[in-house]
Amino acid sequence: MSIVGLNRLARDLEHAPGLRERFAADPEQVLPGYALTEEERAAVTRRDAAWLLRAGMNPVALRNLMVTLGVAHHEMYQEGRST
């Protein structure tokens, strides 16, 4: 798994001005800037915490990514979100 790319994406979405808004408007405008596989990009776009955890993302970084993308900590693995 591209742990460096995913962690960078999580941090940038949290801290880089305007990036979250650009991602919300069109993830494909943001994701090509990160070294991720197609599957990883798709999982981030559908906010699929279960897939990303299974694939090996650190749960703390994953929590940051999900909360930044609007998924509350307690909703990360709720029915219908999981794959």
Partner: protein, 274 residues
């Protein structure tokens, strides 16, 4: 010779300040524990406090991830991530530089940062213990969430080296050590919200009995299974307890369901001599 005047430990979850009045009876007892600890710190008129905490991918990323890192900034900025406390904290770079020398001489060649920003693992305890923040802070980062983690036995030895390095500081400075983290909780995992009260009590009992060697023999996989990845932060407690050398006094413990964490607040008796 400087003195190690105070050792204490507390949990650090952001909900402590973001949702302070949840479960009022329980949270009330905890807030009282923090107030009494803060009064104790104020009475001691400390010259600096070493805060042993961690980071949640705010300050450190995978481009450079230390096991241990001391902060040497004159002023440390807080991230204020996800609604956590923001602002700045006065550093104690001269104390930090001396401790870096002392620890390195004792075989703990830590990383250092002259800019280290602080996340909620530092800031929530400093908000609850304003007398510690007012004394000036040496932030001490410990990797608690990006394996391989520094071993628990190593943390035990580090605490003892920290105590010796503090006592070697020049003048008659009075230094405090505060560890932050735990107790049982799950971060970013399906079991988020669970608390293992039995584990928390077992840990606190061992600290009260001064049986640190037994804690140091715990296996990380077992800790994570029983008490969640957040419990791996007990490293900061172990370093603090080892620095103190004496038993813990539990000032407060509550399995705080609305805060999703088993919350502990303790002070440790500081033992004179090696």
């Amino acid at each position: 010779m400087a003195s190690l005047a105070l050792c204490a430990a507390t949990s650090h979850v952001g909900a402590i300040v973001k949702n302070p009045d949840a479960a009022p009876e329980q949270s009330g007892r905890l807030h009282q524990a923090w107030r009494s600890l803060d009064e104790e710190i104020a009475r001691l008129e400390l010259d600096a406090v070493v805060v042993i905490a961690t980071d949640h991918y705010e300050t450190f990323g995978l481009e450079n991830y230390p096991a241990f890192c001391l902060g040497l900034a004159p002023e440390h900025e807080a991230w204020g991530e996800f609604g956590n406390p923001s602002g700045t904290v006065a550093g104690r770079p001269e104390v930090a530089a001396r401790l870096l020398e002392g620890l390195t001489a004792r075989g703990f060649d830590l990383a250092r940062s002259h800019t280290m920003a602080l996340d909620h693992s530092f800031m929530v305890p400093l908000v609850k213990l304003p007398s510690a923040a007012a004394a000036g802070v040496v932030p001490f980062f410990v990797n608690c969430n990006t394996p391989p983690l520094p071993g628990l036995g190593r943390c035990l030895e580090l605490g003892r080296a920290l105590r010796d390095s503090i006592r070697e500081l020049p003048g008659d400075q009075r230094i405090g050590v505060i560890g932050t983290g735990g107790l049982s909780h799950w971060v970013g995992l399906p079991r988020f919200g669970d608390i293992n009260e039995a584990f928390d009590h077992a840990l606190l009992d061992l600290l009260v009995q001064g049986r640190l060697d037994e804690i140091a023999r715990w296996d990380d996989a077992w800790i994570e299974q029983e008490a969640g990845n957040g419990a791996l932060e007990l490293r900061t407690w172990l370093i603090t307890a080892a620095a103190a050398g004496g038993p813990a006094r539990v000032l407060g413990y509550e399995p705080m369901a609305p805060w999703t964490v088993g919350i502990g607040v303790t002070a440790f008796d500081v033992v004179e001599g090696p």
